[in-house]
Subunit: 191 residues, 4 copies
DNA sequence: CACTAAACGAGACGGTACGTCGAGTCTTCAA
DNA sequence: TTGAAGACTCGACGTACCGTCTCGTTTAGTG
């Protein structure tokens, strides 16, 4: 039982204000100009307190993603029974978010961070719903017979998320018909 | 003409050795740890000579991409008459390249750079053949009736390239059947 | 005759505008921040034209001193027959000049330059009249019997000029009675 | 009291090795080529540690002077009861020091530094004994009736130190009789 | 009157040093 | 023992000048 732990416990206040400061600085300065020093200053915390609990700024960002401090909502596809409509709406939601310059910059920063750190990559994919939620929706679609039996559900998700990420990277504004077209591409033209 | 240009001309030697050094350092250290100082040292060039002609390290990387110093070949899809086979082979080529840890790291670094700089993003997409070459191949496929008439060619390309990029970001090894599956997803299951 | 000189002659325009620019920059920025680049820019001259004719910025300053572009007049002691009065007036003139902050700064810069370059040192001493003019005046004084026969004229001059230079270096404002006191010290208290 | 000081204290080790390196580099390279970078390298210290505690290289030199790291001894005039002999010996000591080319160069560098920075000027004057020690000796002389009552003691000191400085600036070797002559000039020919 | 050759303005080049920012580590003091 | 404050070494930033080296243009003799 509890081998006689002594001294102060980890300060939850510090932890929270560090993550908040990370999110705020990340949004403000982007991944490349994110600095531990700046985070420590904004969080009114010593640098060592950060280094004690996180191994890198990537770890901070990954935890922020996990806590939902960076992406406003967890972009979840709805299930109205109409796959095409649900997917289209889901894509539209993400693209709408990426349309605002500040959000787009944040998004790109996330991609940069993800490209440089595995954890961030996984968290980002999850946050975009590419794994569980989207897969579940597509699975439901297959059960309803709305999806061809041979195609891989995971691959469909990747193609959708990947296409969106590519748009964001290249900074090309998405035309209004893009969501519809994307759905057409991965589900086939039918409908 | 002759708008009265005076003074020594730009040194091609310096330009080339700077780009070479950039490519070498980029491959060796990655985007995040790429430094102008390191490039200048390897190129045996004054830093000012770099700052005189490029506004940032992103510009250097973009020019390297343009000159084909970073991606070994321009990943062009062949045209054997069989779209599915051609696309599958093209995807396989890219994934094979991304399979080697060093190449994968380089690839991720490129994505990070692209996420932080528009020019790099555009050049990267071009280098992956997502624009012209791939579009041309898909166009040919449509003429041959191998492609459903409604789907957008550009969007198909984006879905493919995006899916690959996502794999690389997340560091998930691609199973051998992935290329086939991706083609199935975007072209439909038929055959 | 002459060994067949060919090509354009040295441009007097360039020479003059370089020296003028040197004097202006020297007064404005001081010895330490004087730069060949700045001089070339102000003189609207290529750097090479400077390096062709002067070996260093010290040489430029020395030539400026020689041409009287830095010290407004060549502080010459008058000869009214009264050595004490003449020397006092001469010291007062120099101290008055050094009283203005800009002149004092210029003076200090000259001392710095002189300490770092022999030529500048010699020219500066000459410009202060420490050699010929002052010596001549003291010589006259000795002939008139106003100076003790044993003391070295050169040494008297050095003591006077040295004391003034020291004041300027240390930035101590000279009290009004200083000139008189200095004369007392080197000529003895008598009258 | 205890005004709540937190964080590590200033490292005395660093302070000392920086001053030592400053003195060594100053002697080796002179004032003009003295560089913060060089000092930091020799002291094995980060540049920031220098900038944190000193505002300029002049401040470093001033502190070196204060700590006696630049001028080997504090050139103090002795008091044997014979002013002329004491002053002559004191001047000889300084001139002997300035006779060695390396010392002379160091001396000139000090003058250059003093001309460009007030603090260095004051410290240099003090180090030469021109203020307290010399004044005390002259004061004693006056009490003994060896000094004319009217002359200013401070001015005598300035004349002596100034004359020496001038010699050094102009790089004129001092003849053996100079100390004697200087004393004659400021104390009168008597004796 | 061409032809050479020097001097000129402009400015690119390889470098050194600047003064600043931030990284990650270590030390001191308070709670 | 944690946490704030902050000093430490180190690496890189982007800028200013250094002194050298092309460039084309202008200016003088020389053949």
């Amino acid at each position: 039982m509890a081998e006689g732990r002594r001294g102060a416990l980890r300060s939850e206040t510090a932890r929270v204000s560090i993550l908040r400061a990370t999110a705020s600085q990340f949004a403000e300065r982007g991944w490349e100009h994110l600095s531990i020093e700046g985070i420590a200053a904004e969080a009114e915390v010593g640098k060592q307190t950060i280094y004690r609990w996180w191994r890198s700024k990537a770890a901070l960002v990954a935890e922020c993603l996990l806590e939902g401090l960076l992406l406003p909502e967890a972009f979840l596809p709805a299930d109205t029974g109409d796959v095409r409509a649900d997917l289209t709406a889901w894509i539209e939601a993400i693209l709408r978010f990426a349309d605002d310059p500040r959000s787009a910059a944040l998004f790109r920063s996330l991609i940069a961070a993800a490209a440089e750190d595995e954890d961030v990559g996984v968290r980002l994919r999850d946050a975009l719903g590419a794994s569980s939620a989207l897969a579940a929706r597509l699975d439901a679609a297959r059960s309803d017979g709305e999806l061809a039996p041979g195609v891989s559900i995971a691959v469909v998700g990747e193609a959708l998320v990947g296409a969106i990420i590519l748009r964001v990277i290249v900074r090309e504004a998405a035309p209004p018909e893009l969501p519809r077209q994307l759905v057409d591409v991965v589900l086939g033209r039918g409908g």
